[in-house]
C-alpha cells in the first residue's frame, strides 16, 4: 500500500517536473537568440530571399559559384530569408550566386563587379533582395489533394478527426520519401522541415488547459451552475434561458466549448425534462452562446488559440477588441433564441417534488475544497494571461504553470490526469499543422493569398467583409480548425499588404467569422455535435436540417453584429 502510494507520488512528481521543465523551455525559447557567430576578420556576401509576396524563403540552398561553375561557398537562408555566405580567402572574379529551393524556380544572380571588388578587398557586401518565383508541379497538386481529402474525411465523420489528419500527414511523408525516387517533383517536404510548421505554443497551451479542465470537471461546478440558473430564475423561462446561455458562454470563454457542453448538456436535459419542455429549446441556444462568447478570449476557442499564436495577439487584445462586440452579439442571439423557442418555453410547468429533489442532489458542488483551489489558480492564470504580454510570457507557459500549480496543490490521481489529457487532440493539432504546412510549402496558400489580395486590392473594408463572411460560410461546411489553420498565412499576407490592416483587424475578422459561423450547421462546431449526441441519447434528436433552420439565422444576426462592431472599432 505504502509502496503503491510512493509510486503514485513519484509519478506525480515526474509529471510535474516535466511540466515545469517544458515551461522553462518555452520561456527560454521566447527570448531572442544571438545571430550565428563567425570567425573574426571573415568577410561575407549577404542577401535576402523572398517569394513574390514578400514572405521570406526559408531553407533555400545558396551556393556561390566561381567562373568555372565551382562551388566556393554555401549557406542556407534563415527564418528571415537572409543568407550569409562566408567568403574564401582566395577567389576569382565573375561570381554567381545560385539559389535553389523545392517548389521554386532556380535563381542565378551575377555579383556586380563593384561588389566583387569590395569582396576582394575583404569587405562584407550585401546584394539586392532576391525574389524567387514559385512553380506549380505535381507536388502542388498532391499536397492540395491530400488537404481536400483530410477536410472531406473530417466533414463526413467517416473516420476519427485525428485519424483523418494523421492519414494526411502520413500521405505527405509517403509521397515525399517513397515517391521522390520515382518522381522528383512529387516531393513536398521532409520530416525536419515539417516539424517547423508545428506551432508548439498551440500544442502546449491546449495541453495545459486540458489538465486544468480535467481538474475543474470533477468539481461539479457545471452541474451547480445549471441548477443555480434554474433556482435563480425561479422557473421563469424568460430568465432561465438567458442565464443558462450566459453561464455556458462564460464557461466557454475560459474553458473549451466541447467540455463545457459535455458537462452542461446532461444537467440541462434534466432541468428541461423536469419542467416538461423540450431540452432542445435550451440546448441549442446554449451551444450557440458557447460558440459566440468563446470568441472573446484567447483560450475560448481552438481557433482563437491558433490565431493568437500565429498573429502574436495577446489575451488582452482579444478581450479589448472583441468582448464588447461579442456581448452585443450575445444579446442579439438571446432575443432571437427567445423568439424562436418562446412557445415551447411557455409550456413549462413546476417540477414534481421527486424530480426537484433529484435535480437539487445533482446540482451540488462535489469537491468544494478543490473548487476553491481551482478558483485561486484560475484567477492567477487570468492575471498572468492579462499581464503576460508586458513581461513576454507566452500563454502556453501560463497554462502549463497553472496546470502544474493545480497538480501540486490538489495532487489528483495521476493516472486519471494522464487519461484526461486528450492526446488524440494534441496529435490532431500536430498532424493538422503538417498537412497545412504541406499546402504552404508547395505554394497553395500563397496562390490563394495572392488571388484574395488581387480581389480586395487596397480596400480594408472589402478585406474585412471578405474575411468575416467567407470564414463564416465556410465554417458551416468544413471544420473550422483546419480552415483557420490554412487561412492564417493568407491573413498574414493581407495584414502585411492591405493599408490599415496592420492593426491585425483581419485576424479578429477571422476569429469572429470562423467561430460564430460554426453555429450555422450541426457539423460547424464540435460542441454542436456533442450536444446533439447527448440530446439524442435522451430521446431528443435534432436533424441537420432542423439545426440549420435555427442556426443559419443566428449566424446572420451574430456575425452581422460582429461585423458592425469591428467596423466601429477599426474603421470608423
Amino acid at each position: 500500500m505504502w509502496k503503491a502510494m510512493m509510486r503514485k507520488n513519484q509519478k506525480n512528481n515526474i509529471l510535474i517536473a516535466i511540466l515545469i521543465g517544458v515551461s522553462f523551455l518555452l520561456i527560454l525559447s521566447s527570448q531572442p537568440v544571438d545571430a550565428e557567430e563567425f570567425l573574426p576578420n571573415q568577410n561575407f556576401l549577404i542577401g535576402k530571399v523572398a517569394d513574390n509576396q514578400g514572405s521570406p524563403v526559408i531553407d533555400a540552398d545558396v551556393t556561390l559559384l566561381d567562373q568555372g561553375g565551382n562551388s566556393i561557398s554555401e549557406a542556407l537562408t534563415q527564418s528571415n530569408g537572409i543568407f550569409t555566405l562566408p567568403m574564401p580567402n582566395v577567389f576569382s572574379n565573375d561570381l554567381t550566386v545560385k539559389i535553389e529551393r523545392h517548389h521554386f524556380e532556380e535563381l542565378l544572380v551575377v555579383v556586380d563587379n563593384s561588389d566583387q571588388q569590395l569582396l576582394q578587398a575583404g569587405n562584407t557586401v550585401s546584394i539586392e533582395d532576391q525574389v524567387m518565383v514559385r512553380v506549380i508541379n505535381i507536388g502542388f497538386w498532391v499536397a492540395t489533394g491530400i488537404f481536400i481529402v483530410v477536410l472531406a474525411l473530417i466533414a463526413t465523420g467517416k473516420l476519427h478527426t485525428t485519424l483523418s489528419a494523421l492519414i494526411g500527414a502520413s500521405l505527405i511523408y509517403l509521397v515525399s520519401y517513397i515517391g521522390r525516387p520515382f518522381l522528383e517533383d512529387i516531393y513536398i517536404f521532409n520530416f525536419e522541415r515539417s516539424l517547423q510548421y508545428i506551432d508548439w505554443n498551440v500544442i502546449f497551451l491546449v495541453m495545459g488547459m486540458m489538465i486544468v479542465i480535467a481538474i475543474v470537471e470533477h468539481t461539479g461546478i457545471f452541474q451547480w451552475m445549471a441548477f443555480f440558473a434554474y433556482r435563480t430564475s425561479r422557473g421563469k423561462m424568460w430568465l432561465l434561458l438567458p442565464i443558462l446561455m450566459l453561464f455556458t458562454g462564460i464557461a466557454s470563454a475560459f474553458l473549451d466549448n466541447v467540455t463545457t457542453m459535455l458537462l452542461m448538456t446532461p444537467m440541462t436535459v434534466q432541468i428541461a425534462i423536469a419542467l416538461g419542455i423540450s431540452p432542445l429549446a435550451l440546448l441549442i441556444p446554449e451551444v450557440m452562446a458557447s460558440n459566440v462568447i468563446g470568441v472573446s478570449t484567447l483560450v475560448g476557442t481552438p481557433t482563437n488559440i491558433l490565431i493568437g499564436s500565429f498573429g502574436n495577439i495577446s489575451f488582452n487584445d482579444f478581450l479589448s477588441n472583441l468582448t464588447p462586440g461579442v456581448l452585443v452579439s450575445f444579446i442579439g442571439l438571446t432575443i432571437y433564441s427567445w423568439f424562436i423557442y418562446r412557445n415551447n418555453l411557455k409550456k413549462a410547468h413546476k417540477p414534481t417534488p421527486v424530480l426537484m429533489e433529484k435535480l437539487a442532489e445533482r446540482g451540488k458542488i462535489t469537491q468544494p475544497e478543490n473548487l476553491k483551489k481551482v478558483g485561486w489558480v484560475g484567477l492567477g492564470m487570468i492575471v498572468l494571461f492579462v499581464i503576460g504580454e508586458s513581461i513576454h510570457l507566452l500563454p502556453a507557459v501560463t497554462a502549463l504553470m497553472g496546470a502544474t500549480a493545480l497538480l501540486v496543490w490538489i495532487k489528483p490521481n495521476i493516472e486519471e490526469m494522464i487519461e484526461a489529457v486528450d492526446w488524440t487532440t494534441l496529435v490532431f493539432f500536430m498532424s493538422l499543422f503538417i498537412v497545412v504546412g504541406g499546402i504552404q510549402e508547395v505554394g497553395l496558400i500563397s496562390f490563394i493569398a495572392e488571388n484574395i489580395g488581387n480581389f480586395v486590392g487596397d480596400s480594408l473594408v472589402l478585406s474585412m467583409l471578405a474575411v468575416i463572411w467567407v470564414s463564416a460560410f465556410l465554417s458551416m461546411a468544413i471544420a473550422n480548425i483546419p480552415f483557420t489553420a490554412a487561412m492564417l498565412p493568407v491573413i498574414g499576407y493581407l495584414t502585411a499588404t492591405v493599408p490599415g490592416a496592420e492593426s491585425k483587424v483581419l485576424f479578429f475578422c477571422l476569429s469572429v467569422g470562423a467561430a460564430m459561423g460554426g453555429n450555422g450547421t450541426l457539423i460547424g462546431a464540435s460542441a454542436n455535435m456533442v450536444m446533439a449526441g447527448i440530446a439524442e441519447a435522451a430521446g431528443y434528436k435534432i436533424s441537420y436540417a432542423d439545426f440549420f433552420k435555427k442556426g443559419f439565422p443566428a449566424v446572420l444576426i451574430t456575425v452581422s453584429i460582429g461585423t458592425v462592431w469591428l467596423f466601429i472599432k477599426f474603421v470608423l
Binding site: V258, K358, E419, D422, T424, M529, K541
Partner: protein, 152 residues
C-alpha cells in the same frame, strides 16, 4: 421471476412505450424493468471528449429519465425498477432479459426516415428475431405517435 423489460431513451417517443408497459404490467401482473443503456458511440469521432466523465454524466441523465418512468408506474400502483446498463444496445437488452427472465421486451417502434439509430424500419424484424432467440422474451414494438401496439 418473470418480468417486463421496457427499453427507453427518454423523450416524446418513449412515452407511449412507458404507457404500454404499464398497461401490460397491470394485465399480466408482472414487474417492469425500465432499461436505459449508456452508449458512448456518438463520441467516437469527437475531440476533447473525456469518456470517463461522460459516462458518469450519461448515467446520471439515465437515472433521471428512469426516475420519470418509475414515477409514472408508481402513480398507477405498478411495481417498477430502473436499470442502467452500459454497452451495445442489442447485447444489453438481451442480457437484461436473461437476467430477469423477462416474458416481454417493449421497444419503441422506429419512425420512418429515422437515421442514426440502432433500430430502423428495415432491421426491426431481424432485431426482434435476434432478441427473442437469444433471450426467450417476446418483443413488442410500440408505435411512437399513437402508442398502438404493433406486434411483430
Amino acid at each position: 421471476m418473470a418480468g417486463i423489460v421496457c427499453a427507453i431513451r427518454g423523450g416524446p417517443y418513449s412515452r407511449p412505450t412507458i404507457e404500454k408497459s404499464i398497461s401490460l404490467s397491470i394485465e399480466k401482473g408482472q414487474k417492469i424493468f425500465f432499461l436505459y443503456i449508456v452508449n458512448l458511440e456518438f463520441l467516437s469521432n469527437a475531440l476533447h471528449a473525456n469518456i470517463q466523465i461522460m459516462e458518469e454524466e450519461l448515467r446520471e441523465m439515465g437515472e433521471f429519465i428512469l426516475l420519470l418512468a418509475t414515477e409514472s408506474a408508481k402513480a398507477k400502483n405498478v411495481t417498477a425498477e430502473g436499470v442502467i446498463r452500459k454497452g451495445k444496445v442489442i447485447e444489453e437488452i438481451v442480457a437484461q432479459c436473461k437476467e430477469v427472465d423477462a416474458d416481454y421486451i417493449l421497444l419503441g417502434k422506429p419512425q420512418m426516415g429515422q437515421s442514426g439509430n440502432v433500430l430502423n424500419i428495415g432491421t426491426m424484424d431481424a432485431f426482434a428475431d435476434r432478441i427473442e432467440e437469444a433471450s426467450g422474451a417476446k418483443v413488442v414494438y410500440v408505435e411512437g405517435n399513437d402508442a398502438e401496439e404493433s406486434k411483430k
